[in-house]
Symmetry: C2
Subunit: 488 residues, 2 copies
């Protein structure tokens, strides 16, 4: 495959590629800047080892991503919110030969410069340009993103060019492709949700409206005024948008709210459905290079809680613990196949052996397919709470909790229990100005849930712990309750 940005700039040089802060770049301008940076990086005479990026969501970050692709160098996308020992692990594990960091992270340079080559973006810009024509290394692995598994040891997911291309095509075959689309990106570029927006942009010829951070007021205005036609969100972003929406209508050009990053509460999806907001609920992960299954808005009303059907090139099986296919409506492990599925984790022979069998990837997630083939994701396997032999899926309880008018968001985890093995406990964030009593909330749950699913206690907190991509850090909550258990 040729360099996507180069090909795109050749096909549609004058279309808008990026809007960031007050500036706009066409594909032709973006390629010009990218080639300049690629020539500077080439002067370093790098080998084919990956280059790590520690970047925020900025236009310069985008340029770096395309410059590495132009040189055929894999990019290890580091998460700025991690601790330095976590970065160190990923740099070593991926054999990164160079780390390029956003100018904001100056102290990182001092910390790592003894360990590998480290440059700030400003330093890259000051390099001399190579006089040689650009050398493209073999293009195979495009990006490497680390994801924590159930073991806690992060694994580097290898995402090939083919994976990203298939992901973009699968998405277009599902939601359509309009040459005038603009995709709002307020999710992190170092995460597959943001990175895949960039790939779709150069493959489709669509613009990206980039934000460093998610600000619901700003995004709301964009959607109302039609400055974006597509947006990727996780459920907490959607909730924040709904909270300020009032009677406003999004612009008629706005046609896709891609909702990923874990199951959304039913009442949120219902609210969108009633307001005519085109929410596409998706199931996907770093290992599937973004969306794998998606629920179309036309099915949202009758399939509340589903993540839809696998995209055109994708297949799903639900397997029981004997690796046999489950019947409809029987839950088991979600096992997937398709050209957007990673070829594996870098340097993890054992994890790869466990995850891949007969060309299928075992996600570790639990779910079922209904009689029409719609996927319902119950939970990440590691989050499953088993109480007295009954399976409890936190998402189900969380959805009840947040359906209470006083509750903004909630998370449920298991707590060890001498009698039942585990019992569910809840963490809840109240809406501003609300002062709900714990007992009242538990009583509310009792009305709607089988007794074994009712949280034994609710901790009201200011906010839920989330990572940079806004994904709930359930592990931190588990640890809190585990410590309490030990004290009891």
């Amino acid at each position: 495959m040729s360099h996507w940005l180069s090909k795109r700039a050749s096909l549609t040089p004058n279309r808008m590629a990026i809007t960031f802060q007050e500036s706009t770049w066409t594909f032709s301008e973006l390629l010009e800047t990218t080639t300049l940076i690629a020539k500077k990086i080439q002067s370093l005479s790098l080998t084919n080892e990956p280059v790590a990026l520690l970047i925020r969501n900025t236009a310069k970050g985008i340029v770096l991503i395309h410059a590495l692709q132009q040189l055929g160098l894999s990019a290890v996308m580091l998460n700025p919110r991690l601790r330095s020992n976590e970065w160190e692990f990923q740099l070593k594990d991926s054999s990164a030969q160079l780390l390029i960091v956003d100018d904001q992270f100056e102290e990182v340079i001092r910390e790592f410069e003894d360990k590998l080559s480290v440059l700030s973006i400003a330093q890259v810009e000051q390099l001399d340009s190579s006089n040689e024509p650009l050398i493209e290394h073999e293009r195979d692995v495009c990006s490497i993103m680390y994801t924590s598994g159930t073991t806690g040891q992060p694994k580097g997911v290898l995402q090939s060019y083919e994976n990203h291309f298939a992901s973009a095509v699968g998405s277009a075959l599902n939601v359509g492709l309009n040459v005038e689309d603009t995709w709002l990106c307020a999710v992190p570029l170092f995460h597959i949700s943001g990175y895949s927006i960039l790939m779709r942009s150069v493959i489709y010829g669509n613009g990206v409206r980039l934000y460093e951070k998610f600000d619901e007021e700003v995004v709301h205005q964009d959607l109302v005024e039609g400055r974006a036609t597509m947006i990727s969100v996780v459920s907490t972003m959607l909730t924040r948008l709904l909270n300020i929406r009032g009677d406003a209508c999004y612009h008629e050009r706005f046609r896709c709210m891609l909702l990923g990053g874990g199951p959304a509460a039913s009442h949120v999806v219902e609210e969108c459905f009633e307001a005519g907001i085109p929410v596409f609920q998706t199931y996907g992960m770093t290992e599937t290079s973004s969306q794998f299954a998606t629920l179309a808005p036309e099915d949202s009303g009758r399939k509340i809680g589903s993540s839809g059907k696998p995209l055109f090139m994708n297949d799903i099986q639900i397997l029981n613990s004997h690796h046999e296919r489950c019947e409809s409506n029987i839950s088991g492990e979600i096992v997937v196949q398709g050209p957007n599925v990673t070829c594996g984790y870098i340097n993890r022979r054992e994890a790869n052996r466990d995850a891949f069998k007969n060309g299928w990837f075992y996600t570790g997630d639990i779910g079922y397919l209904d009689e029409e083939g719609f996927l319902y994701v119950l939970d990440r396997r590691s989050d499953l709470i088993i109480s007295g032999g009954e399976n409890i899926y936190p998402a189900e309880i969380e959805s009840v909790l947040t359906s209470h008018h006083a509750i903004l968001e909630a998370a449920v985890v298991g707590k060890k229990d001498d009698q039942w093995g585990e019992v569910p406990v809840a963490f809840a964030v109240q809406q501003a100005g609300e002062t709900l009593a714990e007992n009242d909330l538990i009583a509310y749950c009792k009305e709607q849930l089988a007794s074994y699913k009712v949280p034994v206690c609710v901790y009201f907190i200011e906010q839920l712990p989330r990572n940079a991509s806004n994904k709930l850090l359930r592990r931190e909550l588990k640890q809190k309750v585990a410590e309490q258990y030990e004290d009891h």
Copy 2:
């Protein structure tokens, strides 16, 4: 890859798949009918050899195409306008094990039933259904379409599932993909132009509005009333549409007039540009499974006569006779690369060796790229005559002419024609002492050639113009007929 129609029917069962005459089928209904026919064909216990189809543009023809795909059987697409000796050659050459013919072609059954299994569609419908679950053969070659080369010997182009998929994706990345699109198909299903519409339909989830024949009055009304948003045409169809258009405007939903099958006259493209008709001029061939390069309407005004740029996954080189790249604006052979390019001709080792070098396919067509990379096709395979969208290879007609005992040698060239673009005319040298009449020779051709290939006139001459190395100076003959055309 799974069976595309099955996957499509699972994703969007209730969307319109086909409209033909007074009837409409959803994807779910089309799959149901297709599966029924596939089970009947399965009862014949076929091997993995191809099945030939001799079909008109009808809904039943579409069902047969999908049924063969469901069984993983390659389809040899026969052109109903050919003569029976031409069909016989293709059936033998492809080792077809079964021929299914449209009920209209009853006499073909009688003619071929001694040579291989032949069934009419009505006979297929009367077969018992296999009780076994559907067996899918290995899916690799999807379709085989014959195209005549310069040698006159037709060659079967192998079109894989991957070729068709890449072609559909390349087209969508260029013209966009709207879930509500309907593609009007009045080009033949046995050609790549029509067959590819069917493939895009199941891959995109778009409807096909099928016509048995092109009727400009009917098509005009469809475009005016918005019953189709996309249409594939060859230039003679476009001319006929423009002739009756008057002051009518096409519906605002109509967004793509895909113009293929050879270069269009500049004034036609200009007229479309001025009328705001969204013409996408394309360059493509059977060997590239439809479009390879396309000119966007936005560039039509300033790039009159160009076929645009290679699609996203495609590359073009212009090579001189030493296989070196030509500079901009210097013409040479058009050499192409991409996932929609055929892997080769069936059973043609030598032709394959000539056509494929270092992963590039040598089209034999002559053209150049301008300084911005826009392709201009000067001559299709130097000698190719394109008449109403059908390719006519002089060598094939010449070989028929010289097979007549009275003819010593012959040459065929194209003559401009207001209705068909070009029509074939012949120059013939008689054997000493022979005095064959023009009409008799034309009658002789009619017995052996599809009518569109029969020369409209034959000029008897003393000898053919040849250069010192005895190579036919076809250009001189072309010039003669061109002068006559201008006088007419």
